[in-house]
């Protein structure tokens, strides 16, 4: 994967397959600790304990068609490559939490990528799932909630093209405010 937004898209697909109705995404950059954290929390059906212990192996998968599942192992690689780590916590029937960390200044840290595009694509494809996005740095936090958007829209569907455009711009402005100058790929 070229950037974090593609990893995010891929990992959220797991939550969708696990029939989650609510998916929370946290992106946090801490400049003092030189640490970037991406966290995805869902209320899906959770992971079997026997599978959880080697979940980061590319040969761990629940699918029936073949014996490989690359998503989590690729993210673990990206994270390890940049001096970070990946953890998965899960409880059957309660949900799953995945956390990946990255050293911000590490030469091999992949860039953030187009987070807004990922969220828009996810909302468009799964309009019934509630998405929450929290973007934070040491001092500030930007929040996006599909619940709030839907409340405002009433009978108009969230998949409306104009609404999706608004979401894209809204998230992009949040990323600029929070990560501008904190991650060197985003200008302040």
């Amino acid at each position: 994967m070229k950037d974090l937004s593609l990893h995010l898209m891929d990992i959220v697909q797991n939550s969708i397959s696990a029939k989650a109705s609510k998916i929370c995404i946290f992106l946090a950059a801490d400049n003092e600790e030189d640490l970037f954290t991406m966290k995805i929390v869902d209320n899906g059906e959770g992971i079997e304990e026997s599978l959880l212990k080697d979940i980061t192996s590319p040969f761990a998968t629940t699918r029936k068609t073949r014996k490989v599942g690359m998503g989590i192992s690729l993210l673990k690689d990206s994270s390890n490559m940049a001096g970070g780590n990946l953890q998965v916590y899960s409880k059957k029937f309660e949900g799953t939490k995945l956390e990946a960390t990255f050293k911000i200044s590490h030469i091999d840290r992949i860039p953030l990528g187009d987070i807004a595009e990922t969220i828009v694509t996810l909302v468009m494809a799964s309009p019934d799932i509630e998405f929450e996005l929290d973007i934070s740095n040491k001092n500030d936090c930007f929040k996006f909630r599909t619940v709030e958007v839907k409340e405002q829209l009433k009978e108009v569907p969230i998949t409306q093209f104009e609404v999706l455009n608004w979401i894209r711009e809204y998230i992009n402005s949040g990323i600029k405010i929070i990560f501008g100058g904190v991650l060197n790929e985003i200008l302040s």
């Binding site: 994967m1 593609l6 898209m9 891929d10 697909q13 397959s17 699918r63 068609t65 599942g69 690359m70 998503g71 690729l74 595009e117 990922t118 828009v120 694509t121 468009m124 494809a125 709030e148 958007v149 405002q152 829209l153 009433k154 009978e155 108009v156 409306q160 093209f161 104009e162 609404v163 999706l164 608004w166 711009e169 809204y170 402005s173 405010i177």
Partner: protein
């Protein structure tokens, strides 16, 4: 900074348009969006479909995503299903190819034969 209040305006605007819309003609576009698809560039392909369809005001075509279709080496894969249920599988898609598929296949009903999976395996 943008605010949630702006959505109220979008809501009013789209409400008028929504009443004008004709009923569903049932054409569907399905983009493979598993690890293989995403890594090969399926996200920009899906965005291109949505944008092009909107440009042409074709609100009756649905664009959706699915998991791995099974031929990872040919990703990004897009399936177009017409109103009679005929399925066309396009492989190795790009945003540019997506624009052509919308114009020729979805609007005019002519399959873009050179992008299909049958051609890729020859």
């Amino acid at each position: 900074m943008k605010s949630l209040a702006e959505l109220e305006e979008i809501r009013k605007k789209t409400l008028d348009q929504m009443s004008l819309r004709k009923s569903n003609d049932g054409m569907r576009v399905i983009v493979g969006m598993a690890t293989c698809g995403i890594a090969a560039g399926a996200r920009p392909v899906m965005t291109a479909f949505v944008e092009e369809l909107n440009k042409r005001n074709m609100n009756d075509v649905t664009v959706n995503m699915t998991g791995c279709i099974g031929v990872c080496r040919l990703e990004p894969i897009v399936e177009v299903i017409d109103k009679d249920g005929n399925k066309t599988t396009y492989v190795k898609m790009t945003a540019e190819k997506a624009v052509r598929v919308v114009a020729e296949h979805i609007v005019n009903g002519r399959v873009c034969v050179d992008y299909t999976i049958e051609q890729a395996d020859k």
